[in-house]
Amino acid sequence: MAKLRLIGSGLLALLFVMPACGAEAGVLKALRLEPEGIVLASRGAAQRFTLTAIYSDGTESDATRTARVISLNPEVVVVDTAHCQFQAKSPGLARIRMAQGKVATVAEVSVRNHPAEMSVNFSPDILSILTTKGCNGSGCHGSPVGQNGFKLSLFGYDGAADYQMIVKAQDGRRVNLQDPAKSLLLLKPTFVEPHGGGRLLSEDSDEYRLLLKWLEQGARQNSSGTRLTKLEMAPTERILVSKGSHQSMVVIGRLSDGTTRDMTREVRYVVGDDVVAEIMSDGTLSAKTPGITTVSARALGQVATAQIGVIQEPVGSDYPHVKGNNFIDELVLTKLHRMNVRPAALTSDREFARRIFLDLMGILPTPEELHRFLEDSRLDKRSRLINSLLERPEYVSHWTVKFEDWFRNCQLHMQGRSMGMFKDWIRDWLAADRPYNQVVRELLTSQGDTMLNPAANFWLPATDFMLKQFSVNKVTPTVSRLFLGVRMECAECHNHPLENYTQDDFYGLAAFFARLRVKHGYGEYRRTWFLENEGDVNHPLTKKPVLPKFLGDAVPPIPGDVDLRAILADWIVASENSYFARATVNRVWHEYFNTGIVEPFDDFRSTNMPTNRQLLDRLARHFVDCGYRLKELHRIILNSRTYQASSETSPGASESVQRLLFARCFARKLPAEVLLDSISQVTGVAHKFRGYPDGTFAKDLYIPDNPDYFLVTFSFPRRDILAGRSQSPTLGQALHMMNGETIREKIESDKNILTGLMHRGLSDADIISALYERAYSRLPSDSELKAIQDDLLVERAAGLDSRQLLESFLWAILNSKEFQLNH
């Protein structure tokens, strides 16, 4: 079946030409040396490097082995071209010249005067060995219970505890300072003593010698006090062409004494999607299959990441030249071009109308609305449709439900009126399009009687129903996920071994809520929230009060007698805070594409990079510039060609790459309320909700106290948790659609659409077409129409009358994927 493609009639007036997207190869513009700021500690120290060639079309490629790299001060630093590394000769500053073609650049490398024979430190030297050899991995001694009594912190995030365990615990049985070579620490990994982890070290390895030297020097914890403060990996972004091509990744550690250290071979590498690429322990990355993945390197509680794309073949001259509608397209198309993925064609007007009605308002376009749009011949009619739909009450209804999900308007904690008032509060600010930063500030500083100040219902899911207490530990992860896009829940109990957030961060954030208290009304579910003048959150380890601290490091000054939550709220919604706008735009983006620019959409962290960082940043800036107006955010997304791309499968790129880079639209299930309302719309029979007037839409229900069977079956969410709605289909859903009373009553009703159409004396073909248009917003093709009629003829021969045949057809329409999905 060919879908109708009315490309052209729906183009916007906002076209502009994409400068970066063309088939012509770019011209070499610059060379970039990485890592920057190399400070070698002493003579003999070395640091690997990479060079990146940057072209005029914005593309980049590896030039480490093609460019000429020479040291202008060879007495200080020499260039070891065979290993692509700088080697320190004497203290001083060396200028390094790099050249390729007509482009040349100079960079600096400095060498410090640390003693030639450095003492071996527990951190980072010994911890690095434990990490690279996998000793402190989660499957070995890094597991929560360790192995056979020997427990290490996961990937060495807690060096002090590991030192205790190795040197002091169990009377120091693991080290033998009198005869260092007899230490258990060496006998186990060399398998002289039986070791469950097998033989991991040979006696002639560098690691063995380093461990031995450390023991000989007295197994000191940290003689110089040097710590690793930062890890960087280069290149941070690279696209590899064709299977088997390589890229040498380089890792540099920045130490607290101001020097740097080549840690390329001292980190643990992990490839996010190991189908795409693999990496050796020396940092050599190889392309496997086309795709996109994050590579991370970890050591000593620090992590560095890079994004790697693998493409089948370089961009050819037949790559389509596509025009975008706005900056979203510019950034998406640039990425698609680099990854050699073809953008899908533009949707037809009919597809566009159905998609945007469902996405923005949760309803189908009526035939009249559809025809009005199709007949509009103005060039900017899609923009006009977007603008008009944003002003409709159904937009408010539909998006209110999403915010109820997000703000957890749940019946487990709220009864009747309170829940309804919270819903109305959301409705009101959505309808007025109040700046979202103000809304969030109001929410986070809300207090008082929940019946008088509905925003205060936000705190209810964080109370313990029976104990009648408010738990800061329950609200902290919620606020963090919703408004910062960061999942903090692991840090409640332990430092996150792989990420930068610690228990200190968790309790620092929790401390802002420490003075919030709740009073319960007697015999009903009415609560009053108020603030006390004092109140602390104690750190679970130190048992001491924690000072309020923003995520990151800043500890704000706390003037006495102030609502701490207001300080936090002001920080969260401040325009210079990159978390809030990014988390919000990503959440909204996810609603339209079912895939966030960061995915999972509320899991921002260093090892989960955005697939298109520029897009995320630009969209966040746009949101801030527009005064945090959600309608403006909808408008820019919906007007983009990216949103308006067809869902048609295109050959070439894999499904996952198309999904991650937004090359086309992907079909998604309609949420429970939308599906039910759509069924009512198509059949012309309103669903009856107990206690509500006829014709009430499911999304306008206040209290799902006795939720409709249909809504429950189609994954109406539990809102006491933040988990969101399940997209996966179930057996119960299939059975209810096929056999359940919801569909049956509506197709058999004598007041339904079939009765109306038949009454008008329409032919079967016309009725079939009318139903197609109501459900799919399109007409059947001639071949479809014929196939359906043929099928119905067979049934008629079996003795069914016209009405029964059409009921069967209506049943099939409602059960079809094309109806149940938005696409």
Binding site: F465, T478, E489, L722, P729, L735, I788, D791, N815
Partner: protein
């Protein structure tokens, strides 16, 4: 498999149940255990759950030697295991004591029923951000279905604690409805009145036609899994064997009377019937133990149903 042994954990041997339970409570790896077992033998299990928090004093831990202000108002009776006493409200259960184990040390610090149930059915302390899957959902995911029947069944009503959580609703249980009703039939399993199987098949054919046209254009994992469930649904509707599994009416009247003409009695019998037919884990909820007032009067009939 000996399904007649006991109504508690029928076909799952006691120790195995304890093993699964203990592992889950320690937060350890149920999938691993299942994977290890997969090649050895089938796992089948019935969970009978007293909803609302049955008092331990009036059931399995009467504390006959405790001071009177700790004891309940009911007496303890000896069981078939010398030295073990349970409440006099469970005389029939007492005779079977040599076939089950009692754990008296369990407790929970969750005060909300829903969350406490979630705790016990997932083995993980409930969090505000994430719903952990219940055992049944893990069994569904790891072992899949047998004989075309859903692997995980809940009797009689859907319960928030027996869900798939982050595994995705595909692994949610199949809910039967109350089997202790006249002309009981599972919701949505029987064809609408007046529709023959042939007609239903014709409808499905029409549907397949519409879907195949759409699939030429669209490809998405969600489409494939919807297809899969439609296929399974039709199998259930059309397979006489599957239908029979849910048809408790085929059980002899005498046996139905023995199980008790109550929701829990018929629920337990239906669970047994389903396990015999290929369901892997059936959970029967027996509700109403949340007796804050009038405790003795309310508990007595419930426990007599249970017994």
């Amino acid at each position: 498999m000996d399904v007649k042994a006991s109504c508690f954990y029928s076909t799952c041997r006691r120790r195995d149940f304890l093993k699964v339970g203990a592992l889950a409570f320690a937060g350890l790896n149920l999938p691993k255990l299942l994977a290890a077992d997969r090649n050895r033998r089938e796992i089948s299990c019935i969970v009978l759950f007293q909803n609302g928090g049955a008092s331990q004093l009036d059931t399995f831990d009467p504390k006959p030697d405790a001071p009177s202000d700790i004891r309940g108002s009911f007496k303890a009776i000896p069981t078939s295991v010398p030295g073990t006493h349970i409440s006099e409200l469970l005389p029939r259960t007492a005779k079977l004591a040599h076939k089950f184990s009692i754990i008296r040390s369990m407790h929970s610090d969750e005060a909300i029923h829903e969350r406490a149930r979630q705790y016990i059915f997932s083995g993980t302390k409930p969090r505000n951000e994430l719903l952990h899957p219940s055992y049944g959902a893990v069994v569904s995911r790891e072992l899949g279905s047998k004989n075309g029947l859903p692997p995980f069944v809940v009797i009689p009503e859907k319960d928030l604690s027996a869900e798939a959580g982050f595994l995705g609703s595909s692994y949610d249980p199949f809910v039967t409805g109350n089997p202790n009703t006249k002309d009981f039939s599972v919701k949505d399993l029987t064809l609408p009145l007046g529709l023959t199987l042939e007609e239903a098949q014709a409808r499905t054919h029409l549907l397949a036609m519409l879907d195949s046209a759409f699939k030429n254009v669209e490809q998405s994992p969600v489409i494939d899994s919807m297809d899969e469930f439609y296929r399974k649904a039709f199998e259930l509707i059309s397979s006489p064997a599957a239908k029979r599994a849910f048809n408790i009416g085929e059980e002899p009247e005498k046996l139905r009377d023995d199980y008790g003409r109550t929701t829990v009695g018929q629920g337990a019998l239906l669970a047994r019937r389903l396990i015999e037919s290929g369901v892997r884990l059936a959970t029967v909820f027996h509700g109403g133990y949340d007796t804050h007032v009038n405790h003795e009067k309310l508990t007595q009939p419930l426990l007599s149903e249970f017994d």
